[in-house]
Each structure stands twice: as C-alpha cells, then as structure tokens.
C-alpha cells in the first residue's frame, strides 16, 4: 500500500522524462511513456495484492503541507479508490499502446498525457479535500493541449469547450468546499474532519453546499443537461485522450460526488435526490437516443458515454449500499469499455480509413478489411450493451436493483436505456463494420489497409480481458468496494439517502 503514492510521482517524473527524450527521439518518448504507465499500473496491482479490504480509508502518506490553511498532504486508499486506481493504470497503459503512432511532437504528447495520469492518480488517492481539488485541477489543463494539438474534427472548439466546462465545474466545487471549510471553522480540509464538522451544518446550508459541490463534480461526470462538452470534446480528442477522458476523467467527477459531495452533505443529498435521479435517468435515455441517430461513428461512442455515465449518477443518487457499489463497478466497467470503443473507432478505424462517417464506412466491407477491429468492436459492443459475461452486466444490474429499492420508477425508466443501448450498438456495429461493399466481389487491392499493429492488439486484449474477467467474477472488485462503503464515513449517506 505504501507504494501507491509513487504512482503519482512516477507519472509526473515520466512526463518530464518523456518531454526531455521526445526532443531527440520519438521512440524513446514512447517507451518511456509505456514503461511509466505500465509501472504505475504494476504498483497499483502490487498494492492490490497486499490490500486487506476494510471499512474506511487506509492512509498511505500523511504530512503537514500548508498548516496556516489546515491543508494536509494526506493520501489514503480504500476499496473504491483501489478499483479506480486499477482502472487508471489499465487505461493509461492501453492508451499508450493505442497512441504508438503519434509522430508529431511525440515527447510533448506523452508529457501532457502522463501529467494528466498523475493528476488522476492523485485525485483517487487524496483524503484531503483541498489536495483532492489540486490534483483535480492538475488533470484539467493537459486535456486542452492534448485535444487542441493532436485532435481531429473541430479540435480547438472541442478542447476549449471541454476545458471550460471542467473548469467551471471545478469553480463550483471550490466555492462549495471553501464555504464548508470556513463554516466548519475547524481549520482543516481533511475529509473526515470536514465530514464531522459538516454534521453540525444547518439543513439549508447543506442543501446549498451540496448543490455547489455535487453539480461541480457532476458536470465532469456528464450529468444531463451539462453533458454537451463530453461528445464534442471526446470526438475532437486524439484516441488516447478520448480513451482517458471518457474512460477515466469522467470518473473523477463521479468519484468526487461519491467521495466528497455525498458524505459531507447527506442532508443536501436527501433534498436534491429526486432532481439528480431524474436528470440521470434523462441522461441515460437521451444519450442513448441521440447516439441512435448519429452519422459519425465517434459521436455514437461519445453519446453512449453520456448514457452509461447516467447509470453511475443514478446509482449515486439512489445512495443505498447496493446502488453505490454498482455505481463504482460501473465506473470501472465503463472506463474499460469506453476505452476499448474509442480505441477501435479512433485508432483502428479512423487512422486507417480517414473517415468516421457511417455511410462511408458502410460502403466498405470493414469486417473483411479489418477483421481484428470488427471482432474487437463486436465484443466491446456486447459488453457495452450489458451482455452477461462482460463487466457491464453485473454493474448495470447491481445499479438497477439498488435503484429499485429506492424508487422503482427510476429503475423502470433507466431500464429503457439498456434497450436503447442495445439498439444503437447493434446499429453502429452493422453500419460501420458489416457494409455491403464487399458482397460477392473480392475487395480491390487499393483497399488493403495497414495491418493492425501488435501494440493495438495488445491494448485491445488488455481491455477486453479486464471486462471479461470482471464480467465473470465481479466479486473481485465488489469484495473491495462493499467493505469500503461500510465505513462510518458513508453511514450518513446510506441512512439519509436510502429510503
């Protein structure tokens, strides 16, 4: 466990090294990035082996940082953070593999990439609200440069929109946190301290503070109707950034809701619960319906992320033990699956076909030209639909059961979203990969495409493997998550929000 802080330092150090090496050799920058990401993941896995699931955060580093403001450098982990750390390491490693073909300013690309990863690790490890916020903001700025420099369609607009939404959200969070800090008067940003002090806040204070903090985080989690940055940003981003943004960074928002907003202001949750739940349900259905009519392959995936993140937010809103553990499981599951889908669209298909328009793709027999991509996408699509055997199934099922306990109506409408997800996934699968172009005739030689590289295959296998393993044995993660939710830290949430 004490190794975990090194994931942060390793990533930032790797960023500096990649920047330095990239000036001379792109290959060196790539290998540095791969080794850094893999080493970070390795550290998480080593820590996971020695991890004893328990209620409450297990401190891994603690020291005074800014005593005059009561800010501590306090890093800690429980089963929830460990789940998301595992996801981060996995997605980071796969992301490097899928950006092996970045030729332009390679060193800078991986420097921004690894800085983003370092920030993400930091968020998942922070037990001090201000430290949490610092890492959260560190993860914002690299996104702009990744998208604006290495992105595609409408990249400068997409980058600016995404970053301004994120930053506006974080401004709300900062306002709420500072308010709570000052009102608590305990001169500490440490999350357990803040939660203890927040119990004495009046109901109306909690309602307002919760609104600021939760909304701020939920913007990043893609809460309807504040989700519009997500599809444009993710479509504009380069493949690895889309994978990370949809796969991991959106989870920062959801994690912030779970780790900060809910435990600190349970009375606020009780007040806002129906609003959040219905917005989440609206996001599930709306995101799915919009995905159903897109003619750009990547936008389908972009909107599907909004829909799937709706399940996470719905689970958080329902706020009982089952729904919350389902939400965390769904964060992991969607992180892996969204990463895989974006990898297929952005790297395997777009980098070879140079189009993402579904009608143009439909004119070519992609299943013959790129059988590996087609196969991967079919599996990823099945996982995304919530097919049993893949991680999406236990995650969404757990959420729906949990939500049903709080309100059957929400669960019933959300279940519609599962149907819509099946519809848009099958549609895009058919349009993109199983076109008419190849029927009867052999594909002309001009259509031969660069073969799928080893790096891509490796990345796809990693992500597919993860979704299958968790799909078959969700207890691997649930055994971490469930005890973590029994911590006294979440007691008020489960009591106040549940019924």
């Amino acid at each position: 466990m004490s190794l975990l802080p090194w994931t942060i330092y390793l990533s930032f150090g790797g960023a500096v090294l990649a920047l330095g090496a990239g000036a001379r050799s792109a290959a060196a920058a790539r290998w540095i990035a791969l080794l850094t990401a893999a080493a970070g993941w390795g550290l998480v896995l080593v820590a996971a082996v020695g991890f004893a699931p328990a209620a409450g955060l297990q401190t891994v580093a603690d020291g005074a940082w800014i005593p005059s403001l009561g800010v501590r450098y306090h890093l800690a982990a429980d089963g929830i953070s460990l789940t998301l750390l595992t996801l981060t390491g996995l997605a980071a490693t796969a992301g490097v593999l899928f950006s092996w073909n970045v030729e332009e300013r390679t060193g800078e690309f991986f420097a921004f990439y690894l800085t983003l990863i370092g920030g993400v690790y930091g968020v998942f490890l922070s037990a001090d609200a201000l430290l949490f916020f610092v890492f959260y903001e560190i993860a914002i700025v690299p996104k702009y440069f990744l998208i604006a420099n290495w992105g595609s369609t409408n990249r400068e607009y997409g980058a600016m929109k995404l970053v301004l939404y994120s930053f506006a959200g974080s401004a709300l969070v900062l306002a709420g946190l500072l308010w709570a800090y000052v009102a608590a008067g305990s001169h500490s940003f440490d999350l357990p301290d803040l939660a203890a002090a927040a119990m004495h806040f009046s109901g109306s204070e909690q309602v307002k503070m919760f609104a600021l903090v939760f909304l701020g985080f939920a913007v990043l989690a893609g809460l309807f109707p504040f989700h519009t940055w997500a599809p444009t940003g993710h479509v504009a981003a380069p493949t690895a950034a889309s994978m990370l943004l949809a796969g991991v960074v959106m989870k920062l928002g959801a994690y912030g809701c779970l780790r900060v907003a809910l435990p600190l202001f349970p009375a606020g949750l009780a007040f806002w619960q129906p609003v959040i739940a219905w917005l989440a349900v609206a996001g599930i259905v709306y995101g799915g319906l919009v995905a159903l009519v897109q003619d750009d392959f990547k936008f389908v995936i972009g909107y599907s992320s909004v829909s799937h993140m709706g399940f996470v937010l719905l689970g958080l809103a329902a706020a009982n033990a089952r729904a919350l553990s389902g939400a965390v499981l769904q964060m992991f599951s969607h992180g892996v699956i969204a990463g895989l889908l974006f990898a297929v669209v952005g790297r395997m298909v777009y980098d070879r076909m140079h189009t993402r328009r579904l009608d143009e793709l439909h004119a070519r027999p992609l299943y013959r030209l790129l059988p590996f991509a087609a196969g991967t996408f079919v599996f990823a699509g099945l996982a995304s639909m919530g097919m049993p055997g893949f991680s999406g199934f236990p995650a969404e099922l757990t959420i729906l059961i949990g939500v049903w306990q709080t309100s059957p109506a929400w669960a019933a409408v959300a279940a519609l979203g599962v149907l819509v997800a099946a519809a848009f996934t099958v549609r895009v699968m058919q349009l993109a990969f199983f076109g008419r172009g190849g029927e009867g005739t052999a594909p002309p030689s001009s259509t031969s495409l660069p073969p799928i590289t080893l790096a891509e295959k490796l990345g796809a296998v990693l992500l597919l493997g993860a979704t299958v393993v968790i799909g078959l044995k969700p207890d691997l993660l649930l055994n971490w998550i469930t005890p973590a939710l029994q911590s006294p830290f979440f007691e008020a949430v489960l009591k106040g929000g549940g019924q």
Partner: protein
C-alpha cells in the same frame, strides 16, 4: 518626536545601497562609458544595479525588522520587510528582463530610475506618516512616468507616459487633498495619532470626503475599476520592462501603503461591509473590488493585443487583491502579500516574454505568439508557467494566492457581500481561463507564422525566466514558505 538619525540610517541602509547604486550607474556611465556601445553600457548598468539590489537584499536580511524608527515616521514591521524583499526580488527580475528587451537609448538613466523607483516602493511599504507616504509615492510615481515614456521614438510609449502621468497626477492631487483634510480633522500626520483621534470622533461627513479621496488614489494605484482607464494604454505603450515594473513591484508597494493607511490608520471608520449606507470605507473597497473583477474579466475577453489583455487581467487581479485588503482585518497581511507577490512575479515574467519577442521581431497581437513552442520551447514553457499561474491553476502559486485570499474573505460571512464577492471571483476565474488559454493556444498549438525564426534569449534573461518560473512553482508546492512569513 525624537530625531534618532543613527537609528534611521541603520534602518534605511538597503535604500541607501540602492541610491548609491543608482549614482554609481549614472556616474560611471557618464565618465567612462560614453563612447561604448549601447549593449556594453546596458550590461554594465544592469550588472551594477543588480549588485546594488543584491546588497540591499542582504542588508534587509541582516538588519532584521527594527520596528518603528525616527519617532514612528517609518515602521519596519513584518509587512514592510516582506514587501521590501518582494520589491527587491521583482526589481531584480525586471533588471534581468531589460537585458533581453529592445535596448533603451540611455541605458544608465533607465536603470538608475528603476532603482530610484525601488527606493520609493520600499519607503511606501514602511511609511507610517502621511507626508512621507506621499513623498515615497511620488518618488515612485515620477520614476514610473519617466520609465513609461522612455522610448521616445515610439508614439505609443509617449502616449502611455502621458496618460499614466495625467491620471497619476490627478490621483496624487486627490490623495494630497484627502491627506490635508485628515490632518485638519485629526491634527496629526502620524498614523497612530490619526487612528486614536478617529476612534474618538467617528465618521464625519468631511472625513467621508477625505476617505473617498484617498480611495480614489488607491483605486488608481491598484488599477481598480473605475479608476483603471490608464492601465490598458500604459501597459500597451510603455517599454516592456517598465510595464513589468508598473504591474508588479508598484502594485505590491501600493497595496502595502494603502493597507497600512486603511487598516492600522483608519480602521475606526472601516464601517460594516454589509451596510453600504452606514458609511465607512469597507463597502467602497468592496464595490471597487466587484467592479474590477467584472470589468477586468469581461474586458479581457475582447482583447487582441497581448499587453492590453494582460492589463485587463491586471484589473481583474486588482479586484481579487482588494478582496484581500478587505480580509486584512481578519486574516492579516499574509494572503494579500502572497497573492500580490506571486502575481507580480508571474505578470513580470509574462511581460518579459513579450519583451524578448519584441526584440526578436515583434509581439503586438496575441497571434504574434503563434508557434512559440517551436521558435523557443524554453520561452513557451516559461510563458505557460506564468500564464497558468495567473489563471490560478494548481500547483502554481497563483492558485494558492487565490485560495488564501478567498478563504480569508469568506470568514467575513459566506452569506454577506464578502461571500458574494468571493463566489463571483471564483466563478469569474472560469471566464478568465478562457482568455489565458487563448494566449497559450497561440504559444503551444498554433504553428509559427512565416518569416519567423528561432528566438534568441540572452543568457541572463533566460536565467531570469528560469528563476521567475522556479519562484512560481516552488511557492506553489510549498506555499507555507511565504504564507508563514508573518
């Protein structure tokens, strides 16, 4: 009043070192270097001035904080000492920058006047008597007017100096008028006596007039709306090192001067921030803060000139700094000093980057920064540190300055005007990120324009940038180093 000249001489040794340095710069240039090239004369002047500043820093550190000297005319408390060290550091940075900027026609005079300005800044921070406060302010201001108009060959520079001078002259007149009213009302020009007298008589209409006049001058010095109109023109036209000095050290010293006037001096008539009609200066400062935050951030969105953009950003930052002035009563000088100091370093650094680009061909529009990452990765990286710090992105110092000021201001009541101002400042920082990213987009995303090549940076200037960036990063990673100074 006891005239303790030896005590005074001991306390102002750093200022003596600066003055001596300025005289040496002028004298040596006059006697020995008339026939040398401008480059050599500038190098000598900067080297001698830097030595004088380093000597002043050493003397400040060695002398400690002697407290009140010369019968309370000057007070060297922790605030004065911190601002002194801050001003000297900023002047050192500006000196390094001026080596990379387009060369001034009379380098010795240029550098010497900077040192005179530094003397003025230092005395401003320590003045505890109205007359000395005014003299120190005028010493600094007159130096800055000259520095702003130093590039006589460019009409913009002359325009900058004229506007700065006219606004500055009027505001000085206001200040003097306010001071004379206060003297008339309290019978003293010493702040402790004024404070005691005001505590007895309370807020009278005539005092209100005096306070407004002082605040007008304060608004001018801090570039706070609605007294900000000089700033965009002065920042745009002045030679870049002069603009850097106006935006950084001058602001730091001005804040110290007025905070000392307002809090230890006029705290009896501060009034209640929540009650505008109740009188007192707190609500007025709150209005200035709110207006500056709004006008600065929104005005900056429309700018296409880099320096005007930085000027509007300065106005926005002035709003946040005034919030720190408001919170001074509950939190003391630490948040305000930290904010003003780190803001000064970042903004001086940004002007330095502009200066180097001006020498390399020109830097007028924001688009002139295009492709900086290819023309000079080092410069682009430093610019990113400065701009992101101005935007308040952690772990850079700008974020912790905002954090400290906002946390302090919220202690005045989250539901009251201070709270609303703080929330407005936080939300407007999201607006601000847009225009800061517009700068960084050119530097880091856009390809270089045609006919532009690599940028040459003199070694000393490169080292200056490195030092400024290091200050920003280290002050961000260990904010306590500066916050716990007091």
């Amino acid at each position: 009043m006891t005239a303790d000249y030896s005590g005074l001489a001991g306390a102002v040794l750093p200022e003596a070192a600066l003055t001596l340095g300025a005289l040496i710069v002028l004298g040596v240039d006059l006697v020995f270097l008339r026939r040398q090239s401008l480059a050599i004369r500038l190098r000598f002047a900067v080297a001698a001035a830097a030595l004088a500043v380093v000597a002043a820093i050493a003397l400040t550190l060695k002398g400690g904080a002697p407290g009140e000297v010369f019968g309370g005319v000057l007070i060297f408390d922790s605030l004065a000492m911190a601002v002194r060290l801050g001003v000297l550091t900023l002047v050192l940075l500006v000196l390094g920058i001026s080596l990379g900027a387009p060369r001034p026609r009379r380098p010795a005079e240029y550098v010497a006047i900077m040192l005179f300005a530094a003397v003025g800044f230092n005395l401003m921070a320590a003045a505890q008597q109205l007359l000395l406060a005014f003299l120190a302010l005028e010493l600094a201001s007159l130096s800055l007017y000259v520095l702003a108009g130093f590039d006589k060959s460019r009409p913009e520079s002359v325009e900058a100096a004229l506007k700065y001078f006219l606004f500055g002259g009027v505001s000085a007149a206001f200040l003097l008028f306010g001071f004379s009213l206060i003297y008339g009302l309290t019978g003293s020009i010493n702040l402790p006596q004024i404070a005691a007298s005001l505590a007895q008589q309370g807020l009278t209409p005539l005092l209100a007039v005096a306070l407004v006049m002082v605040l007008v001058a304060f608004g001018f010095k801090a570039a706070a709306a609605p007294f900000h109109l000089w700033a965009p023109d002065a920042y745009q036209g002045a030679p870049a090192p002069s603009a850097a000095l106006i935006a950084s050290a001058s602001k730091l010293a001005g804040l110290a001067l007025f905070v000392r006037l307002l809090w230890p001096g006029f705290h009896a008539v501060a009034g209640n921030i929540a009650v505008v009609s109740g009188g007192g200066w707190l609500p007025v400062v709150a209005i200035l803060a709110g207006a500056s935050l709004l006008l600065g951030n929104i005005g900056a969105l429309a700018q296409t000139n880099v320096r005007r953009l930085l000027a509007y950003s300065a106005i926005a930052h002035a709003g946040a700094l005034l919030l720190g002035v408001i919170a001074f009563g509950v939190a003391g000088p630490a948040p305000l000093f930290y904010y003003a100091m780190t803001y000064g370093v970042a903004t001086a650094g940004a002007f330095g980057v502009i200066a180097v680009l001006e020498r390399a061909g020109g830097c007028d529009k924001i688009t002139d920064l295009a492709g900086l990452h290819r023309r000079s990765p080092f410069l682009a990286a430093c610019l990113a540190v400065f701009i992101l710090s101005l935007a308040g992105i952690p772990p850079l110092a700008g974020f912790f300055g905002k954090l400290a000021v906002f946390a302090a201001a919220l202690q005045l009541g989250a539901g009251g005007p201070a709270g609303w101002l703080t929330f407005a400042a936080i939300f407007l920082s999201a607006v601000a990120l847009y225009y800061y990213l517009v700068i960084l987009k050119q530097a880091w995303v856009a390809p270089p324009a045609e006919k532009t090549g690599p940028v040459a940076i003199p070694l000393v200037t490169a080292f200056t940038f490195l030092a400024a960036a290091a200050i920003i990063v280290l002050a961000g990673l260990w904010p306590s180093f500066l916050l716990d100074f007091f």
